[in-house]
């Protein structure tokens, strides 16, 4: 790898500028953990089949917002939505008739630390289908291959599908988690710092994978690495202290930010 100066931001490659459609609308969203408010009046429209990056210093609320998108925060005691709403395809996901389980089937998630189940690679990939009651062996085989190919892992593991998923390397584990997430064919994939525990080569592979996946999926990625945000995303949202500071095309955010705080952050002067 060519050594680069730490602050040099590569200019994002020209993006596909086809027509975009909004899939997720976040309006005046407020969220707290108990008495501590984590998000203040966030307004954001996310495009379908694009990669959106959330950046910002630790504790700025980007992961919290991400976990609100598939209601993973429901699992934490004492969390409250105090104002605003999130719509996906126009449906309020916190509405009274929404089933969080159904929502999570449509909005998948990949976590910061790879967390394959202590099961075989095969069982890991089909877990989401097993719980939906899919039993047909031929269909499962087909989906395993498709998902692992989709996660660029097939060639590496096709001969040991029935060995434990925990035995893979860190990067392979993370791609296995991505395969597991896309096996249930969600529309949106949320990625919470998916590369923070990976070495540069594994990171490059996952980033390449993100490029390929956006053909079919809407991807929202939280990252601490500004280079990564610049490399993979089409749009970038910068958060600070629970507020959305700036949201624009990635190129604009990195080259010509409107807000001085954004500029300070992306150029590495704080954060």
């Amino acid at each position: 790898m060519e050594p680069s100066a730490p602050l040099a931001i590569r200019v994002p490659a020209p993006r596909d500028v086809g027509a975009t459609s909004t899939i997720i609308e976040i309006e005046d969203f407020n969220f707290s953990y108990g008495a501590k408010q984590a998000l203040f009046d966030v307004n954001l429209k996310l495009d379908a089949r694009r990669v959106t990056a959330f950046i910002g210093p630790s504790g700025c609320g980007k992961t919290t917002l991400l976990r609100c998108l598939n209601r993973m925060n429901d699992l934490i005691d004492g969390t409250v939505i105090n104002g605003g709403r999130i719509r996906i395809h126009g449906v309020d996901i916190n509405g009274p008739e929404v089933d969080a389980i159904e929502l999570r089937k449509r909005v998948g998630m990949v976590f910061q630390k790879s967390n394959p189940f202590p099961k075989s690679i095969y069982e890991n990939v089909i877990y989401g289908l097993r719980i939906q009651g899919v039993g047909s062996k031929s269909r499962l085989d087909e989906i395993v291959e498709k998902s692992l190919r989709g996660a660029a892992l097939w060639d590496e593991v096709k001969d040991r599908l029935h060995e434990s998923g925990v035995g893979l390397s860190g990067g392979q584990q993370q791609r296995l988690c991505i395969a597991r997430a896309i096996a249930v064919q969600p529309e949106v994939i949320l990625m919470d710092e998916p590369c923070s525990a990976l070495d540069p080569i594994a990171t490059a592979k996952v980033e390449e994978l993100i490029h390929d996946l956006k053909k079919d999926y809407t991807i929202i990625i939280v990252t601490h690495s500004m280079q990564q945000a610049a490399r993979v995303s089409d749009k970038t949202a910068f958060f600070y202290l629970g507020r959305l500071v700036e949201y624009d095309d990635t190129q604009t955010i990195f080259m010509n930010p409107a807000n001085p705080q954004t500029e300070a952050y992306v150029s590495g002067r704080f954060g």
């Binding site: 993973m72 189940f117 877990y127 719980i131």
Partner: protein, 533 residues
Amino acid sequence: MSVPPPAKAPAFAIHRRRTRILGLSLDQCIQAFFGGHALTAVIVLTLITVFLFKEGIDFFGQNRENLRIYRQSGMEYVDVLRELERDHTSLTRYLYDIRLRALQHLTGPGGRSLPEANAALADLDALVERFGDAVVPIRGFVSDYGEVAVGIKTRFIENQDFAEAKRQYLAAGMVAEAEAITVAPIDFKAEVAAITGAFPEFEAGGRDLAREVASTVQQLPALPTPELQHRLERFQQLAREYAASIDGRLEQMRTWQWDRPVPATQAFTAFIFGRQWLTASFWQDWYGIVPLFVGSLMVSAIALSLAVPLGIGAAIYVNQFASRREQQLIKPTIEFISAIPSVVLGFFGIAVLGQALRALSQAEWLAWVPGFPFAERLNALTAGCLLALIAVPTIFTLAEDALNNVPRAFREASYALGASRLQTILRIIVPASLSGIISAVLLGLGRVIGETMVVLLCAGNRIAIPDFTQGLTAFVQPVHTMTGIIAQEMGEVVRGSIHYRALFVVGIVLFFVALLINFLAQKIVRRHRISIG
């Protein structure tokens, strides 16, 4: 030019301090203090093991001697006849049972009066009487020659006592007193010949018995119901089998030899596979662990079958469902159970649970449960229910720990894939903590097997292998256990006697069972740690 020695301590003081206690530095003292504690534990455990074996191992020699005298005194020979008589008695009991049922049927609602009913059963009574009379000659032999055999054994034991007294006098230097004791040696061959010499009588008696039994059951009286008739036919079959077995038994007596040596292994096998634990008997003492082992096993099986679902269920609830407040209430409550002294639990079992279970068993709507209704208040079920209470805290606490050790990330990943709470628990959390849960169950088993007070008070303490021919009914019969027998009998035995040593060997068996269980549990936990990573 020489360097002058430093006049004062250097400012950079990094050399070792010289505090020493008994010639050891402070670090060494601390190390010795903790090392000593660890060493003490190891030494104590070793001493316990050595002591158990030292006290117990002589049992096998004594038991061999016990079996040898059993043979040489002719008791083994007479036992063939005793068994013949005993089998006859159990057949007679079967017959009485049929008569009782027939009488109950006849005098039932709208039936005949008692004299009429008795008259109707005259044929059956004749059969009972004739069958009963057939064994009288054999019973006479058992009584006469049994006494002879016991006489031989008694004299042998007296001789041993005399010899011991003589040895002690000699050891104390009291030669005159020692001389005064004369030990008349026993000529086993001649003595036993007095019993075996009567073989022609036994043979004739046995043949008569076989013939008489066979002819008695040739013609069966008619009974009022097909069910009773069927039972009588079953009796006929059993009686014929009995009659047919007599030849084999006579053959066994013919070929019996008083001086056939008892192999050393028999002292061991007679203990491990012995189906009788019979002590302080007028006849022969048997030390067979099977009834006690089976008792312990049954009580533990009942306890675990209750405690495993309760303990694991509670652990899953507390770990996965309960709010913080509920957790704060449930965990200490369950853990408190283990603080109840087991004697109090046993007392509760006698006073409350035994009564309650018996009353419950007599409820009409529970009549379908196998073994219900039962009459014994104290039985394997009562003890098992209480032992379950003792095992629940162990299983609960360890299973909860195991569930807690499942990384939170597994749970989140499962939810993120659209799994419900139940699916997450059953497919991810329980499998991931399975080895921890299994070792929790094993340690619960270890706790239950070793528990003494509750089984001593509540298991009914009947030393017999429960009758498994009736299926699950065996579980409401009284049993005795390995721990119970030690607690009950250790206080009464003569130190150094075979009975005393037999109890130690039971202790050794318990020790090994506990060792095995703990070993397995630890092995499983170790594997579990590796798999979770």
